[in-house]
Amino acid sequence: MSDITAGAYEYSRTPSIGAVDNYLTHGRTLRSWLVTTDHKRIGILYALSITVFFFIGAIAMAIVRLDLITPAPDLVSDDTYNKLFTLHGIVMVWFFLIPSIPATFGNFMLPLMIGAKDVAFPRLNLTSWYLFVIGALFTIGCIVAGGVDTGWTFYTPYSSQYSHGFVIPAAAGVFITGFSSILTGLNFITTIHSLRTPGMHWFRLPLFVWAMYTTSAVMILATPVLAMTLLLMSAERFFGIPIFDPARGGDPLLFQHLFWFYSHPAVYIMILPAMGVVSEIFTCYARRRIFGYSFMVYCMVGIAVVGFFVWGHHMFVAGQSPFANLVFSFMSFVVAVPSAIKVFNWTATLYRGQITFESPFLYCLGFLWLFTFGGLTGLVLATVPLDVHLTDTYFVVAHFHYIMVGGSVSAFFAALHYWWPKITGRMYDEAWARFAAILMFFGFNLTFFPQFIMGYAGMPRRYHAYAPEFQIFHVLSTAGAAVLGAAYALPALYLLWSLRRGERAGPNPWCATGLEWQTESPPPRDNFRTPPVVVAAPYQYHSETHGPDYQHRDIERAQGTV
């Protein structure tokens, strides 16, 4: 074990026995949290806020799934049903998934991972949390007032002319929250440019930092377009001016173009951070360097760039020209290539690794399976003739849940377990954590795999009355949702338990190489007692000549030594 981190970093760890001053004890009043500019505390403020929204979105979907047990629309009214799935979509996309990894673990870990004291603009960072809260209040206000029934996509002309729901408050909530993610992205990019510790070259950045960088770029360039789209839609609704109204020369397809120009890249806002997390965790628990570091970086940049040119695959049947369909279909295939390269590189990273199946690793394995499956079904949907058959069915629902829940949420839980000891200074119960990770994988598949089948068989999305032959799939799916709900609730229990009873974690319980592990757990207010200096690439889990590859018999045979 001695050569595991040797030579990777030069740092002096201040003897910290008995040192109680950390970011949590730095101020103990509620006020000290509400006016904090500490990136670590802001990360925790975000974590608490998105947890609330995760449960709001989950409750909405629990009611929907209960209603879907029977083919008859018996539990809630049509109107309520529409409002519930809209609420689920809006809350889960903008108030959970978009901020999930970047605003919590990104905020907390990014400065630590590059050896910085804080982000570039700490007060702006707090401002973005407050913007998130104001947006959240609009959304909660909209729910309390009676909800909105447009679907999370706000398609015109329904949203701008016919819906009786509270469309403008809902759009305002999304608009304001959008600026919170823009400011977070701006802050991260400036931080990565300006505050890397000496020796932290661009190609020594951990892949999670690259993931934050590319995610931030997408946030900055895509989110404002959504903001303007919602503004135009709201202007049409509120002032009655013609913008997307086909009766007055407008084009509803324009709305869809603008909306998906944001909302497809938004998928990458959700999945790129997950890719960063997985790269950190696979290397750590396989005790391996990442396979093809620079390719991993180029792939993330490639995904971020090409991801801006595929949005039309959401509009194959909306009346787009066949030529546009062809181009967007082709580009959607192109964007799958870097994702596939990453999957292969992760697999190659595991090859000959000394793997231990700790819970973060299990969550990442779940990610690898579910993301790959979601990605491949994405190619099915990117194929125009198949999409004509599958569009607006449960196949689509299953596909994007495999990416966004199977991929991003699995990675979120992986990150939560991986960095929990760093954030809180405590270890959770590993047996329970493994159980929850496995339960989540099976619960997820039970929920969403039947949806592929019934979608292919023709079950349309957003209907709560359906033909009886689909009932078996809906029952399986609802049963899976119950299992999944339990798997989400379990960590809340043992993680809270660990706060009081968990063992002290120490600075580096996983023997990981990142800079965040070179400081105390929980870290002090200013992150490092002594600024760290970096002298090597990340993931030095083995030296170049003593890695598992080197001792592998095939190589020895090739060298003629066996």
């Binding site: 700490p122 377009v225 202007a235 049409e236």
Partner: protein
């Protein structure tokens, strides 16, 4: 003693300045995409309803538009002088430029207010009844006119506030103008708002007038 303009987490003023400028450029990138939604929509509809857009464009008041363009261009020039003067240590001159910039911004807003008043008197608001132009695309043109100019006006108002902020914060400590990146960053933002107007001028006032 370190300057009061130096904030966490920076060690020196130069580093802080460069990073703040980078941050503002990133924000302007966001802003370009924000207005990009308007420009994209406008372009699509102008392509679909070319003749209607030209007819609608002739209804705008080019005198207000042109004078306002001139006002903003001069304000940008004065703002540049101000931020350069702040860097060169000519604080009295800088503190003269900022109020002039802000007043020019307010002149713009006043003229814009008169123009809005005229527009409303001519019922050129497509959401209300009595909109005088029969062409289908004319309503779209005027819808974009209102959204684009109102969003621009809000940006300009924020800019005026930011320029006054420079004046207030440097009242007792002019050296702050040199140490802090605020003057340069505010200037960048001001020029951006000005640039957006130049594009809007071409798209709103010039169609149908050549």
């Amino acid at each position: 003693m370190p300057s009061v303009a130096l904030r966490e987490p920076w060690q020196d003023l130069g580093h802080q300045r460069n990073s703040a400028v980078l941050g503002m450029w990133l924000f302007l990138g966001t802003e370009i995409l924000f207005f990009g939604g308007i420009f994209a929509g406008y372009s699509v509809y102008r392509f679909l309803h070319t003749a209607d857009f030209l007819a609608a464009g002739r209804e705008t008041n080019i005198y207000y538009g042109s004078v306002n363009t001139l006002v903003l261009l001069v304000s940008s020039f004065v703002m540049s002088l101000g931020s350069r003067a702040a860097r060169a240590g000519l604080f009295r001159f800088a503190r003269l430029c900022f109020p002039v910039t802000a007043v020019l911004g307010m002149v713009f807003l006043t003229l814009k207010g008169f123009e809005y008043n005229d527009d409303l008197e001519k019922h050129l608001f497509p959401g209300a009844s009595g909109f005088p132009l029969p062409e289908a695309g004319a309503g779209l043109f005027w819808a974009f006119y209102w959204v684009a100019t109102v969003v621009h006006t809000i940006h300009l108002t924020v800019g005026i506030g930011a320029v006054f902020r420079l004046q207030i914060l440097s009242r007792d400590d002019p050296q702050w103008l040199n140490d802090s990146p605020s003057a340069e960053v505010t200037s960048l933002y001001w020029h951006f708002v000005d640039c957006i107007w130049v594009f809007l001028y071409a798209l709103i006032y010039l169609p149908g007038r050549s």
